[in-house]
Structure formats: C-alpha cells, structure tokens
Amino acid sequence: MNFELTSDQKMLAQTVRQFTKSKSPVERFRKLREAGVPWERDVWAHMGELGWLSVPFPEDVGGFGAGFVEVAIIAEGLGKTLVPEPFIASVVLGGMALLGAGNAAQHEQWLSPMIDGTTSLALGYAERGSRYDVSAVATTASRDGGGWKISGEKIFIPNGHEAENIVVSARTPDGVGLFLVAADGPGVTRDKIKTIDGQGAGRLRLDGASIGDDRRLGDPGDGSIAILEHVLDYGAAAACAEGLGVCQATLDMTVAHLKERKQFDVPIGSFQVLQHRAVDMFVEVELMRSMSILASLAVHDDDPVARKRAISAAKVTLSTGGRAVTRESLQLHGGIGITDEHDSGLYFKRMLVLDTLFGDEVHHVERFASLPSFAEG
C-alpha cells in the first residue's frame, strides 16, 4: 500500500500547476464565458504538445500508457482554475470509448489526431428520458447498404457542441451499438445548449444520418453496454478528481475570505461558528481526496463489481461533499458570494455539473446497493 506519487507524477502535477497559473487562471475562463467562447484550439493543441491528451492511451496508438492516476492529476489541476478545455469530455469519454470499442484503423484515424490536440472527441449517451441508464437507448441504427442510418437525439453531450466526432450509442437489431458520428455529416444537426457552468454542451439530432460502416465501433450487443458503463466509470473517476480540485480551490478561497473579511471589528474567521463550518468543509475535502484516490486506482479493476462499488462510492462522496463545500462557501462569503462577479459562484456551478454527469447521488447509492458486494457484507 502506497499513496505517494512517483517523481514523474509529481512533475506532472507541477507542470499542471504552472500551466493553470500562467496560461489559464480562473480569470481566463471568466473572459471566455463572457465572450461566449467554449474553449480555445491553440490551448488544446498546447495540451496535446504537453502530452496530457495521451496519458490514458497505450503506446501503440500514440499514447503515454500511464494509469488513471495521471488522468486524475490533470483533471484535479484543471478543476482548480476551471480550465474549460474538454479534457474529460474528449480524452476520458470520447477517447476511452473509441479506444475500447474501436479497432486499430479507427484508433489511427480518429484517436491519434485527438491525442495530438488537432481535433477533439465527445460521447453522446444521454437521451431525453434515459436519465443515467446507458442501456436506455431509443436512438436507432439500421443497416443501409454498406453503411447505417441512425435516427434519434442525444442531449447534454459534454463538448458535443465543439467536437469533430462524437461517439453515440444506438439500438440495432443485434443490440446496442456504438458509432462515431461526424458532427458535419449528412442528416446530423448539432447545436449548443447553454449550461449552468457556462461551459455549454451539445445536442445532437440524427435524422436518418448516414454513417459508413467504417465508423461502426465494434459489434453491437452487450459488449457495447459494458464498454459504455466502463467509460462512464472513467468519466466518474475523472469527475471525482476535477471536483476535488474545484472544492479544494473553494475551500482555500473561503478560508482566505474568513481571514480577510472584517465585521464587528474582527476577522469573521474568528467567529467560532464560522470556524467550525470551515472545518466541516475541510473534512469533506479530505474525504473527497481519499475517495478520488480510490476511484483512480479502482477504475481499472478487472472485477467489475469491485470497480463499480469503488466508483459509485467515490461519486456519492463527490456529490455529497461537493454540494456541502460549494454551498457552504457561498453562505460564508455572504452577499458577495451571490454576485456573478465573485468566483465562488463559478465553482458552485461547475460542481453542480460534475455532481450530475455520470449519475447523481441517488443513482450511485442505488447502484452501490444493488451490487452483490452489498448483500454479502
């Protein structure tokens, strides 16, 4: 048992810190949000140069071949300053789905340019009415000559408004299949949904969209559902890391405010009630950190029960801790926290998105309790 980062991992964390400090402090996100710019291509390319977009992929597809700890390090660091580039959406969701379901030619054609930072990917799994169940797929795909016709709608796709290619699930006569849809393909309409965190998301409408068979990722069937479930677990583990960054930054900001802000002639951080509530926030952040570590180590577990158990526990901890920390932060900031110009609200809203994506608290409590590990002890 060992929770030390390797020296390479420490260096990675340091690089992320330098990057966010010099290139993407929270003010950058605020400016992009006000300008209506989701994220910037050159920054994405820079992240590609730094190798960050390659970390979870094996070397034979141009990846770095690292474990998920590196993904978590990057996601946590980006969360601290709300970097808007689609690291989780493109690398962890779209990328890992393409890696898991696609073949070598597909990896070569679509994964490699994403790893370079030339393009970006996304994963569309949510539909109106599907809630968090990846097997509730109403979108259909039927054979059409040598290719496929796909019809249906996917909503709230992280980076779905910007990605060149989007992995979507669709029901075929042989079960659910995965397909890589080109955003500008025929029969494809995509638009941007404005989201609470200012990052936006995509909505994809497929109206008999023609998809070549070269864009079919693996064979339809239960295997696709298993891949989707695993990819969403990757997403959840990455969300735990980003959420930890969000909450650590929120805690730091709040403690600083308590030390600086004076009322009744003293710093408000000298009021015992506020002290204890800051301590409660601190406790939540430490538990989130512990569970983020667990998630990043367990997400590769060969035993799907052990994996799901750990990821669900971590995601529940993210939701409960993240809600407590970001909501309490607004209260402890007082009136200023309610203004859009203060950063605490930005973190509060980003946390809400991480809380919701990949299944909320109730969903993961139920998944946790329905695993055989629960009844067994």
């Binding site: 809630r131 609470i196 009136g335 309610i338 859009d340 109730v362």
Partner: protein, 394 residues
C-alpha cells in the same frame, strides 16, 4: 383550539383565486407557469392591477389607503398570490419604507410619499449594506455632512436591489462619527435623480441584474427628508425589521415549488415507473413536504396570535430561519429530480420541459435567502441572546 379558517375567510380565499384567474395578464401567467423571472416592468404592471383592486398593500391600515385586512386575510392573500406564482411585488416601498414613514414620518412626509408608493408611481430601493458593513450594519461609513438645510452625502451602498429602476432610496447614513456605532446614524430618503447618485447594476449568480452598487458623490439632500430624528435612524431601522415576519417563511413560494417538484417527478421516468412512485424519491419529497407543513403550522400560530393582537412569540423567530432553508432545499431537490435538465441555463423553449425552465436560476438565487435580511447566523445569535438568554458570546 381550532385549525379551520372561518367561512368568511374561505370566501375571501375563493375571491382571491377568482381575481387572479381573471386579472393576471396572459403573458405573466405564461411566465409564472415556467417559473421565469419577472423583469421590473412586469412587477410594476401587476402592482398597478393589485392597486386598482385595493389589495396592493394588505398590511396597510385603511387610513393610509390599505384594505384594513385581518392578519388571516393578509396571510390568505399572500399565500394565494405565491401559490399562483404572480410577480412578487417589490417590498421596499410597501413593506419597508412605507410602514416606517407611517410610524415615524411627519404628516407632510406621509402625504408626499405614501400615495405614490401605493399606486406604484414611485418605486423604492434600500440603502443599508456597504462593502465593509454587511452583517455588522452599525459600522457603516456612508456619511452625511450638514450644510444649511441640507445634508451632503458621500459614500457607497451595496446590494441595493433594483436600484437601477428605483425612483427613491431609503438609506442609513452616518451623521455623527464621534459617538458609539449605533448612535450617530440617520434614516434618510434620497431621490435617485439627484446629481451625484450613480447606481451600477451587477449580475447575481441567478443570471439576473438584481443588485446594484450605488455611489453617492456629494449628493445634496434636504434635511426634510430625514425620517424620525437625526442620529436616531437605528430606531427606525429596528422597527422596520419587525414587520410581517410570516412573509419571510416563504410558505406559499415553497408550496408552489413543492408542487412543481411533484409534477416534474411524475413526468420523469426511472426504470419502469416514475420518480414520484420510486420509494427513495418519494421519501425525499415527502420529508420536505412534512417540514414545510410544520413551518406552515408555525406560521399559522404566529398569525393566530397576531389576530388576537399578541406580540409575536418565540415561534415567530424561527420562521425566517427555517423558511429560507426549506426553500433552498426544495430548489436543491428540484435540481436533483431534473437530472441532466438541471444543467440547462436560459435556453430557448424546447431544450427542457417548460415546467423546468426557471428552476436553475432560482436554485442559484435562493442561496441569497439565508444571507440577506439578516443572515441566518445573525438570526441565531439573536435567538441565543434574546430568547434563550445565553451569555454574550466570547
């Protein structure tokens, strides 16, 4: 003891419902149905409709132009308006400065200001908080220097809600810096059109321009605009805080939100059934409904006491505290119920169901409820000291 409303009160409730059904303009009703925010012009349009009906100021006495309603009727009217989701009227004139002018103003001041508050020709905002004086109001610095028959005012007020639309502002200003904090403060009315007044709106996290920073740069205000005595503004401000505590419980708004949550839950599939039929979600909703029921009973107790002319008892102090928390938690629950739709932010119709449109901004904005109007921490300090009699905190 008797829990029922009198037949007369029940008749009145029906009258209110009928009135709302016919008098609320279609476009406002459409906004109410999706919990959309009401801009100031909508609010003032509704204000004038209620004024025409004579119901705009249910808590005002007849001689000041109010309807002379009993406490119960006031409660019924408020509850029905909140349940219907009509635009909440701006409280600064009707609930705050109006009653203060009635209690402390001269006959001239009453004649000058009250009719205009009532008919909505003049709207008001509040200038209490300052950047360095939030919960600790007594440390305010915005100063008023005597100059003949006028005061010259310099300083800054913050959280001046809707100051950008207001005709007048009532302010607490420091008229004597040499005395103890709460002494030396004066309650004064300032015309927002006076040269040197500058209200700069800022967005809230709910995405609406509800607040302003308001700056005063050598603003000349006649001494005749002082309410009560110079240096006795604290007395006026304290009296003003006591008005209509039951309003702060937000019972009607919370009941409306609860109803909306059930509506959304009934429309949201999970597995083979709906969220409203699912044991875990039912339990979450039911627990909040029960808390709201307890809060409503506590409000009715305060109301029944007021009807008998009693001063509000200890139970009244919990209304703001618990009412704001329940209201926040209802919006939190609504967000959870909505799933991915909770992420939608001011999109065009059709992206999420209409019933869900307004939830997210309100979810954000309700965070203010536990901060403004005396933060819940300050409320607890007050209860600890004045009701439980605990020694001053160290």
């Amino acid at each position: 003891m008797d829990l029922s409303f009198s037949p007369e009160d029940e008749t009145f409730r029906q009258e209110v419902r009928d009135f709302i059904a016919t008098a609320l303009p279609e476009d406002l009703k459409a906004k109410a149905d999706i919990d959309a925010p009401f801009p100031m012009e909508d609010t003032m349009r509704w204000h004038k409709i209620l004024y025409a009906k004579g119901w705009v100021a249910p808590q005002w006495p007849k001689k000041a132009g109010g309807p002379g309603f009993s406490a119960t009727k006031r409660f019924i009217l408020t509850e029905e308006l909140e349940l219907a989701g009509t635009p909440p009227l701006s409280p600064f004139g009707l609930v705050m400065v109006g009653p203060a002018i009635m209690q402390f103003g001269t006959p001239e001041q009453q004649q000058r200001f009250l009719p205009q508050i009532l008919n909505g020709e003049e709207t008001w905002c509040q200038g209490y908080s300052e950047p360095e004086a939030g919960s600790d109001l007594a440390s305010l610095r915005c100063k008023a220097d005597e100059d003949g028959d006028d005061f010259i005012i310099n300083g800054q007020k913050t959280w001046t809600t809707y100051a950008q639309y207001a005709d007048w502002i009532f302010c607490l200003v420091r008229t004597d810096p040499s005395v103890k904090k709460q002494a030396g403060i004066t309650f004064i009315l300032i015309d927002m059109k006076t040269p040197g007044v500058d209200a700069r709106p800022m967005l809230t996290i709910g995405g609406t321009p509800a607040f302003c920073d308001t700056f005063f740069d050598n603003v000349r205000v006649p001494k005749a605009n002082v309410i009560g005595k110079v240096n006795a503004g604290w007395t006026v401000a304290k009296a003003l805080l006591g008005h209509e505590r039951t309003l702060l419980a937000l019972v009607g708004n919370s009941r409306r939100t609860l109803r909306r949550i059930k509506h959304i839950a009934a429309e949201t599939a999970v597995g083979d059934s709906t969220l409203l039929e699912h044991s875990e979600w039912r339990g979450k909703i039911a627990r909040l409904e029960i808390e709201l029921e307890a809060l409503k009973m506590a409000s009715l107790r305060v109301l029944a006491g007021a009807e008998l002319g009693q001063a509000p008892g200890p139970e009244s102090s919990i209304l703001k505290l618990r009412g704001t928390e329940i209201n926040q938690r209802l919006y939190e629950l609504a967000m959870e119920v909505m799933g991915h739709d909770a992420l939608s932010w001011y999109n065009d119709a059709g992206v999420v169901p209409d019933a869900e449109q307004g939830i997210a901004p309100n979810f954000c904005y309700t965070r203010a409820n536990t901060i403004f109007g005396g933060s819940n921490e300050i409320q607890k300090n007050i209860i600890a000291k004045w009701i439980l009699g605990l020694p001053a905190s160290k």
